[in-house]
């Protein structure tokens, strides 16, 4: 698929080239090289060990869980897993970096080339992934607490990150957005990152350049730490336009680090990182090379769940679900998990998928809740769908019952029972109603018999109304057909 996205310049169309470096916080209880907790929201500097604060003589010891999660993530994007990797020091001075270097992997990352399949309105596209490496997160600086001072909080310092580096394969904001969403979905399926962009557990450095279609890549800028899909797309749009304007004015793009201002929707050059280009990487002498055994990699592989692409294909091919529903349900691991619990509780796939994507999503939207906090459990929902499937209630009554379930927390069957909502299949009772209706609408019966078949719906409606909605619609249909024959 070739993107049609172009920036319209004064001198013609420009193509935008995008590469993303996504920093994803690895799900672990303790930090990458120390035993301090990674939990979000603690008091300043509470979750800091002597190691994280880079006290003299402190040494890093690697958290094995972080290695495992990086390898599992690599396997999930069909990447090469390097049996030999190494940690390097990236040296620079900043107040959020106590050691004066970040322990990262430049020369020998743990995960090599892989790829990700993304879908936009223009079709499917494979985006190359260059590498995934493990590194330490930095601390936080607060600038607005004191007139002349910034405050340093090291709680985040040393938390494990995966840096997932894409190839410069994206050509539109839509592709960049689709890539991040898909990557986030996979990380959440694998369980290697919670994908929570608001809390900063996933953020992207957005590399953007522009060129005339078919020409060499232009000089790129890197906009740091962009923390939502919407912002990433805004950065691409803004940077592409800005760069085109600069070039068309006869200027040159400077390779630089920029910062995104979400309030103004613009990027600006980052002063504090101006001269940080010579990082003097070298192997961290406090850590030995990281060697993975075949057995370890095999264990990681065996521990992977079914991933979104495979699940979607299975839902369509085996369960016969419409591709749209399959897409929606598999795009988020919690939704897929909920749906599979629904199936396990006995719900039928197609009806279940329809109900989930319309009724449940609608309700959750209204309540402002995530699916993991759904007030109705998959087992309860399966009970409701079962009542529809065996004709105990009609589809429209099911909506009422669902509302009642949300309000009361009671089970579907109990609500139907208590409120006398059970649909009748008593043909005698229905016949009696039909008789009354047909006799009081003799003119319409005549018209029907004369060929105005559209009136059939009128008779169904009248009968249902007279039955207070509690008649089995299929039986009404059958009996009406007989009576009108």
């Amino acid at each position: 698929m070739v993107s049609s996205y172009r920036v319209k310049g004064a001198t013609g169309d420009w193509e935008v080239v995008i590469g993303l470096e996504v920093h994803a916080q690895i799900t672990s209880k303790a930090k990458l090289f120390s035993g301090a907790s990674t939990e979000f929201g603690a008091e300043p500097n509470a979750q800091v060990s002597l190691v994280d604060a880079a006290m003299p003589g402190m040494l890093p010891v690697l958290n094995g869980e972080c290695v495992k999660q990086a390898v599992r993530t690599g396997l999930a994007i069909d990447a090469e897993i390097h049996r030999w990797s190494r940690f390097d020091r990236k040296n620079y001075f900043y107040a959020d970096l106590p050691q004066g270097y970040q322990i990262s992997q430049l020369y020998h990352p743990i995960v090599g080339e892989g790829s990700l399949l993304v879908e936009t309105e223009e079709g499917e596209k494979v985006i190359g992934i260059e590498r995934i490496h493990i590194e330490q997160d930095a601390g936080k600086l607060m600038h607005d607490q004191h007139p002349t001072m910034s405050y340093v909080d090291l709680n985040r310092c040393g938390v494990a990150l995966m840096e997932i580096v894409s190839k410069p394969d994206m050509r539109s904001p839509a592709e960049a957005g689709a890539y991040v969403k898909k990557l986030r979905a996979i990380l959440r399926y694998v369980g290697s990152c919670d994908g929570n962009m608001e809390q900063g557990s996933m953020r992207a450095d957005v590399n953007v350049s522009v060129r005339r279609t078919g020409e060499e890549f232009g000089t790129r800028t890197e906009t740091k730490n962009v923390n939502s899909v919407r912002f990433i797309q805004a950065v691409v749009e803004y940077e592409a336009k800005r760069q085109v304007a600069v070039i068309e004015d006869g200027g040159k793009i400077v390779q630089e680090t920029r910062l995104f201002d979400p309030d103004k929707g613009v990027t600006r050059s980052m002063r504090s990182k101006e001269d940080a280009h010579d990082y003097r990487y070298f192997p961290d002498p406090d850590l030995l090379p990281l060697v993975l055994t075949e057995e370890f990699v095999a264990e990681c592989k065996a521990s992977l769940p079914e991933l979104p692409d495979a699940k979607r294909a299975r839902f369509v091919d085996v369960l016969g679900m419409p591709p749209y529903n399959a897409d929606v349900i598999t795009s988020d691991v919690e939704t897929a998990r909920w749906f599979e619990a629904l199936l396990a509780a006995g719900a039928e796939a197609k009806a279940g998928a329809n109900w989930l994507t319309s009724e449940l999503f609608g309700a959750l939207n209204r309540l402002g809740k995530d699916i993991v906090d759904s007030p109705v459990s998959p087992v309860q929902a399966a009970e409701l769908l079962g009542l529809v499937a065996d004709c105990t209630i009609s589809g429209s009554l099911a909506k009422q019952v669902f509302e009642a379930m949300l309000e009361t927390g009671d089970g579907a069957a109990a609500i139907v029972e208590d409120r006398g909502l059970k649909q009748t299949s008593d043909t005698g009772a229905i016949d009696a109603v039909i008789d009354t209706i047909l006799s009081s609408n003799a003119d319409k019966v005549e018209q029907y018999k004369a060929g105005k078949e559209a009136l059939f719906g009128f008779f169904v409606g009248q009968t249902m109304k007279a039955m207070a909605g509690k008649a089995n619609p299929k039986i009404i249909n059958d009996l009406l057909k007989k009576a009108l024959a």
Partner: protein, 100 residues
């Protein structure tokens, strides 16, 4: 390679060591002397030789993902973390204001 005063200034800036002009000038011949001497390493034929990674054969150990398993490398020790701080501020380290 010969080191000039511009190079010394650049290196001092990378290393965040403020240097007066006279200090820079004094360091130029010193560094040239030492760097000229270490450059004899270039004579050694290292074809096919791997750079050393571990001086004594040893593999990287991993620790389990347990919080505060060893109190010496765990958290919840804010008082200790801030005990030597030149400018502790409400549980933070204070530094001159940074404009990003």
């Amino acid at each position: 390679m010969s080191v000039d005063s511009a190079t010394v200034r650049k290196i001092a800036s990378l290393a965040r060591i403020a240097m007066r002009d006279d200090e820079v000038e004094a360091m130029v011949p010193e560094l040239n002397n030492i760097i000229g001497w270490i450059e004899q390493l270039g004579e050694v034929d290292v074809t096919g030789i791997k750079p050393m990674t571990a001086v004594i054969a040893n593999t990287l150990r991993w620790r389990d993902d347990v919080v505060n398993a060893d109190p010496q490398t765990g958290g919840n020790i804010r008082t200790k973390i801030l005990a030597n701080a030149p400018a502790p501020e409400h549980g933070f380290f204070g530094v001159p204001k940074v404009i990003e």
